[in-house]
C-alpha cells in the first residue's frame, strides 16, 4: 500500500450522526485550515431530519485553490456506525480512516489498502466526563485535537479559534482546550505525526473571509437599506432572514430610542410573505423575502401581480433539490424556469445568479436597486451549497460613496412643480414609468394599482390596443433590464469551443478546465450572472462554434432559456447536466465533457 503523501491537497470527511453536536468541531477544523492560510471548501451534507440520521461534513483543502467538491475522500473520520461500511468504501487507496477504537473494528469495515487510525474516544470520554451530554460533545473535540496532530494543524490556531469563540468565558475555553489536547496527545503518542498527507501554513488567502452565502445575502439586505422582511421558514433559505435579523438587531437600532429601524414579520405562509413584500414596496419601503422552490411555486400568482402592476420586490430563492418537496437538504439549480417565467400569462422576471458569498452580498444590494429602478420583482437565485456552506470569499466591500438608487419616483416637490404624472407612461424611452409613494401629495400623484387591465395613464381598461401597448412597453423595460444586470464574466481567447456555467458550478470550473487542458481540450468560458441575458452573452455564443451549457438540473433549463431568449441554434448548445443533489465535481465534468468532445456529441432531444 502506498500511503498518500501530499501537502495541502486533501479531502477530509467526517461521518456523524445528526444532532450529535459534531458541526462545531468539524467547522473548527475547517476554519483552522483557513487560518493557516489555505484555501478550503467545507460542505455539510445533512439529512432532512433533526436527530439520529447520518450526516457528513467534508472539507477540501487545496493549495491550488481547488476547493470544490472532488468526489473521493483521503481522510475519513468515521463516527457513525450506521454508515460505517459505506464510509470505509469511500476512502481512496492509501487514505486514512479515523475511528473510535473503544470497540474492535467492525470486520466489514476492513480494507487492506487504507490506513486505520484508532482513537478510543468512548473510553476516553467515559473516563474523563460524567454527564452524557459532555461525553458526547467532547468526543468531537477530542477527535479534532487528534486531527491537529495527524494532519499538522497548528494547535495554537485551534486554541485561538476557541478563545475567540468563547471570549470572556475562560472556563469553557479551558475545558475545550483540555479536550483538544487529550486528542492531540493520544494521536501524537500512538501514530507518526504528522502523516505524510498533511497541511502546512501558507499565505494564500490574503484578506479573504470564510462565510456562507445566506449570511452575506442577509447582510446585503441590511446594507441595501431594506427595512421590511416578510418570510416563512423553509430550508435552505431560513438563514437568510436569520442573518438579516441578527445584523439588523446589531446595526439598525436607533441610538436615541433603542428602537428598531426595521421590521420583520414571520408570515403564515409564502403567499403572505410575498404579499407583505409587495405591500411594503408599494408603500415606499425596501422589502424582501427568502424562500426555496415550494415557496416560489406558491408565490407565483403574486409575482405575476408585481410584474404586471410594476411593483418592486426582492425575492431570494435558495434552491434545493426538487421537484415537490424533493430532497430539501440537497443542492440543485432547478428553479430557473420557475423563477424566470413565474406566473400564468406573459410574465418574466429579472434573476441574479451569484457564485460566491461576495457576489451574494453584492447582488443582494443590487437586487434592491434594480427592483426599484425597474419596478419589478428581482429574484436572487442562490443555491443550498452556496447559501448554507462556508466558502472562501473576497471580503465584503461597499463603495463609501454608495447610496441607494430608488429609481423613478415622483416626489412631493416634483408634483408640486407640475411634473405630469401618469403611472404607466414611458417618458424616457426605457420602458420604465414613474411611480409615487402613497401619501405623497394632497391632490396630485395618487393612482390606483391593479393587476387587471390598465392603460398607460394608470386607468382601468379592457381595450385591446391599450392593453397591448402596455404589454409592449413591459418588453422594452425588460430590454432595459438586460443592460442593467451584472454582465457575464467572460474569458474569450478565440477558441472554437466554450463552456457556459453559473452559480456553484463555478467553484469546480478552474479545476475542470485545467484538467481538460491537460488532456488537450481547450475552452473559452462564460459565467452567467443574470437574466435577462446581456448582449455580451449573445456575442460570446455567436462567436463560438460549440458552447457546453453546464447546469445542475435534469431538464437543461438554462439552455432552454438561452434558446428562448436569444434564438440560439440548439445545435451549438451542448447540454451537460448533473442533478443527483450532490454538488457537481470536477471529476464528473471532466469525464462528461471529454466524452462529449471526443464523440462530437450533442444533446439528445428530450422529446425524441
Amino acid at each position: 500500500m502506498s500511503d498518500l503523501n501530499r501537502v495541502n491537497e486533501l479531502v477530509l470527511r467526517f461521518a456523524n450522526v445528526n444532532g450529535s453536536g459534531s458541526a462545531s468541531a468539524n467547522s473548527l477544523i475547517a476554519k483552522s485550515f483557513f487560518r493557516m492560510g489555505l484555501p478550503v471548501g467545507p460542505k455539510n451534507i445533512f439529512p432532512s431530519n433533526i436527530q439520529g440520521l447520518p450526516t457528513w461534513y467534508e472539507i477540501r483543502v487545496s493549495e491550488k485553490g481547488h476547493t470544490g467538491r472532488r468526489g473521493s475522500v483521503d481522510v475519513l473520520v468515521a463516527m457513525n456506525s450506521q454508515t460505517f461500511q459505506q464510509d470505509v468504501a469511500d476512502v481512496v487507496p492509501g487514505g486514512y480512516l479515523v475511528y473510535d477504537s473503544t470497540k474492535p473494528l467492525n470486520p466489514h469495515g476492513r480494507r487492506d489498502d487504507i490506513n486505520y487510525i484508532g482513537l478510543p474516544l468512548t473510553q476516553i470520554t467515559v473516563a474523563k466526563y460524567e454527564q452524557a451530554r459532555h461525553r458526547q460533545l467532547f468526543k468531537n473535540i477530542i477527535y479534532a485535537g487528534a486531527l491537529s496532530a495527524l494532519l499538522g494543524i497548528e494547535f495554537e490556531v485551534l486554541c485561538d479559534l476557541l478563545g475567540e469563540q468563547f471570549k470572556g468565558r475562560d472556563k469553557i475555553i479551558e475545558t475545550n482546550i483540555d479536550a483538544l489536547q487529550t486528542g492531540y496527545d493520544y494521536a501524537a503518542k500512538f501514530y507518526d505525526c504528522p502523516l505524510p498527507l498533511r497541511v502546512e501554513r501558507r499565505d494564500l488567502v490574503g484578506d479573504k473571509i470564510l462565510i456562507d452565502g445566506n449570511s452575506t445575502v442577509g447582510l446585503g439586505a441590511v446594507y441595501a437599506g431594506a427595512t421590511v422582511a416578510g418570510w416563512y421558514p423553509i430550508t435552505p433559505s431560513t438563514s437568510v432572514i436569520d442573518a438579516y435579523t441578527k445584523y439588523a438587531e446589531k446595526l439598525r437600532i436607533d441610538p436615541q430610542t433603542g428602537r428598531r429601524l426595521f421590521g420583520v414579520a414571520q408570515a403564515e405562509d409564502e403567499l403572505a410573505a410575498i404579499g407583505m413584500v409587495i405591500g411594503a414596496n408599494w408603500n415606499g419601503a425596501r422589502a424582501f423575502t427568502a424562500t426555496s422552490g415550494p415557496g416560489i411555486s406558491l408565490m407565483s400568482e403574486f409575482l405575476g401581480l408585481a410584474y404586471y402592476a410594476e411593483i418592486p420586490a426582492v425575492l431570494v430563492d435558495v434552491q434545493r433539490c426538487g421537484p415537490s418537496t424533493g430532497m430539501p437538504t440537497r443542492n440543485q439549480q432547478s428553479d430557473l424556469m420557475a423563477c424566470a417565467y413565474a406566473s400564468h400569462g406573459d410574465s418574466r422576471h429579472v434573476l441574479l445568479l451569484p457564485s460566491t458569498p461576495k457576489e451574494c452580498f453584492d447582488f443582494s444590494m443590487l437586487a434592491f436597486d434594480l427592483a426599484e429602478r425597474l419596478q419589478t420583482p428581482v429574484i436572487l437565485v442562490s443555491e443550498l451549497e452556496l447559501g448554507m456552506n462556508d466558502s472562501v470569499s473576497e471580503p465584503l466591500t461597499i463603495d463609501p460613496d454608495y447610496s441607494w438608487d430608488r429609481g423613478k419616483v415622483a416626489n412631493y416637490e416634483m408634483l408640486e412643480e407640475g411634473f405630469e404624472f401618469y403611472r404607466y407612461l414611458d417618458i424616457d424611452g426605457d420602458g420604465i414609468p414613474y411611480r409615487t409613494y402613497p401619501g405623497t401629495h394632497p391632490t396630485k400623484g395618487a393612482f390606483f394599482t391593479r393587476g387587471s387591465g390598465h392603460n398607460k395613464y394608470g386607468g382601468y381598461t379592457e381595450k385591446g390596443p391599450e392593453y397591448q401597448e402596455n404589454m409592449e412597453r413591459l418588453l422594452v423595460k425588460f430590454r432595459t433590464a438586460a443592460t442593467l444586470v451584472p454582465p457575464a464574466i467572460i474569458e474569450d481567447k478565440g477558441r472554437p469551443d466554450a463552456v457556459l456555467f453559473f452559480g456553484t458550478t463555478a467553484e469546480v470550473m478552474p479545476e475542470t478546465l485545467e484538467e481538460l487542458q491537460r488532456q488537450g481540450h481547450l475552452f473559452d468560458q462564460i459565467r452567467l450572472r443574470s437574466f435577462p441575458f446581456g448582449d455580451e452573452v449573445w456575442q460570446f455564443i455567436n462567436s463560438h462554434e460549440r458552447v457546453l451549457v453546464i447546469e445542475q438540473n435534469r431538464d437543461a433549463q438554462m439552455r432552454s432559456m438561452l434558446m428562448i431568449e436569444g434564438d440560439v441554434n440548439p445545435a451549438k448548445l451542448i447540454s451537460v447536466t448533473h442533478y443527483d443533489g450532490m454538488p457537481v465535481t470536477a471529476e464528473f465534468l471532466v469525464a462528461t465533457i471529454s466524452g462529449h468532445v471526443d464523440n462530437g456529441g450533442s444533446r439528445q432531444r428530450l422529446s425524441a
Partner: protein
C-alpha cells in the same frame, strides 16, 4: 352603473375642518349593479372620512378581488389604492403598514375574499394586531363570479324556504373575537345612521378594527325557494329567459332604534332579522360578546352594532419595537451601517 355624479359643485357647499368637501372624498363612478349594498358602504366610508377630517391622501385603500374589492376605486379618489389578488389583501396591508405606520389603512374585502380563499390571511392579520380597518362587505355570495354560495352564506337562512344551505356558516365576528381583534362591529349597508359611526370608531381605533357589514347583492341573492329568486322568476314571471338580465333594483335602507329589531326584506324576498344592540350593551366584555353572539345565533337574529372594543391596544409596531418614524421615510444615511461596521464583520469571518 349606479349613480352619475353632478359635474359642478355648489360653491357654498359644506366643508370639514381641513377645508375639504364631501366630494373630495369621493372616487370614480361605480360600475356595480344598481342598488348594490357595496355602494352604500362606499358612501358611508366617504361620509366617515369626511366627518373625521382625515386628509384623503393619507389614507391607503387596499382590497382583494370581487365586486366588493372593486369599490376602493369608487371612494377616496385622492388616496392611493391597491386592488391586489383574491383573498390576499391582509398580507399586502401588513407589508404596507409595516412600511409606513402613519397612513390610515382601509382594507376592503368580500365574504368570498375573506372567508374562503382569504381565511388564513384574515385570521393571521387579526392575530398580528395591525392598526387598520378591515371592512368585509358581506353578501353571502360570490358576486363577481355570479352567485355561488360563500362560506358566510347562512346569514339569511332564518327566512329561507326550500333547501337550507347545508354547511355551517363562518361567523367572521366570532372568529375575530376569538383571534383577539380589539374592535369588532357588525353593520348593515342600508343603515347609514349606524354604519357611519361604526366606521368612524374603527378608523379612530388605534389597533385592529373589523366591521362585518352585511351588504345585499341585489343580483345574486338567489336562495332557492325564495319567491323572488331567479329560479322562481324563471318559472313564473320573466317572459324571456335571459342569461344576463339584471333587474334594476333599489338600494335597501333601514332606520330603527337601538335595542330594537327590524326585518329587512332582501331583493330576493328573503328576510333578515336585524337586531341593533341596546344602548346599554357593554362592549368592553369579550366573553359576554361571544355569548351574546351565540345566543343571537340560536335565535336566528343578527346582532348589529359595536360588539366589542378594547381601547387598550398594543399594535404591531409596539410589539415590533420599530422607531416612531415610518420605515419608508428613513433615508439611506439612517439605514447604512457604514464601511467600518462592514470591515469588522469581515474580520469576524477570518
Amino acid at each position: 352603473m349606479s349613480y352619475i355624479k353632478p359635474k359642478v359643485t355648489h360653491p357654498a357647499i359644506a366643508k370639514n375642518e381641513l377645508g375639504f368637501t364631501r366630494r373630495d372624498y369621493e372616487g370614480s363612478i361605480s360600475t356595480l349593479c344598481a342598488g348594490c349594498g357595496h355602494d352604500s358602504i362606499s358612501a358611508a366610508l366617504i361620509q366617515a372620512c369626511y366627518e373625521l377630517d382625515l386628509p384623503p391622501h393619507r389614507i391607503a385603500k387596499i382590497s382583494g378581488i370581487g365586486c366588493s374589492s372593486k369599490t376602493p376605486t369608487y371612494f377616496l379618489g385622492a388616496s392611493h389604492g391597491f386592488n391586489s389578488v383574491h383573498g390576499r389583501m391582509p398580507s399586502v396591508v401588513t407589508g404596507a403598514n409595516i412600511a409606513n405606520k402613519d397612513l390610515v389603512y382601509i382594507g376592503v374585502s368580500g365574504d368570498g375574499d375573506t372567508a374562503s380563499i382569504g381565511f388564513g390571511q384574515f385570521s393571521h392579520i387579526v392575530r398580528r394586531r395591525l392598526n387598520m380597518l378591515y371592512m368585509v362587505e358581506n353578501n353571502g355570495v360570490y358576486g363577481l363570479t355570479k352567485g355561488q354560495f360563500s362560506a358566510t352564506a347562512d346569514f339569511g337562512s332564518a327566512s329561507k324556504g326550500g333547501v337550507p344551505n347545508p354547511f355551517d356558516q363562518i361567523d367572521l365576528i366570532q372568529m375575530a373575537l376569538q383571534l383577539g381583534a380589539t374592535y369588532v362591529a357588525r353593520g348593515f349597508s342600508g343603515d347609514k345612521k349606524q354604519l357611519v359611526p361604526l366606521i368612524k370608531g374603527a378608523l379612530s381605533h388605534p389597533g385592529f378594527a373589523m366591521i362585518d357589514c352585511i351588504s345585499p347583492c341585489v343580483t345574486f341573492n338567489n336562495h332557492e325557494g325564495s319567491t323572488r329568486s331567479y329560479e322562481y322568476v324563471r318559472e313564473h314571471d320573466v317572459p324571456v329567459v335571459t342569461a344576463d338580465y339584471v333587474p334594476y333594483a333599489k338600494t335597501i335602507r333601514v332606520d330603527y332604534e337601538p335595542g330594537t329589531g327590524t326585518q329587512v326584506k332582501m331583493h330576493d324576498g328573503s328576510v333578515l332579522n336585524l337586531h341593533k344592540l341596546d344602548e346599554d350593551y357593554d362592549p368592553y366584555d369579550r366573553k359576554k360578546a361571544i355569548n351574546y353572539l351565540l345566543d343571537c345565533q340560536e335565535q336566528g337574529k343578527i346582532a348589529t352594532g359595536m360588539l366589542y372594543v378594547n381601547p387598550d391596544v398594543t399594535d404591531f409596531h409596539d410589539i415590533m419595537k420599530t422607531v416612531d418614524e415610518p420605515l419608508s421615510s428613513l433615508n439611506y444615511d439612517r439605514l447604512n451601517p457604514g464601511v467600518e461596521a462592514l470591515e469588522s464583520i469581515n474580520a469576524s469571518f477570518r
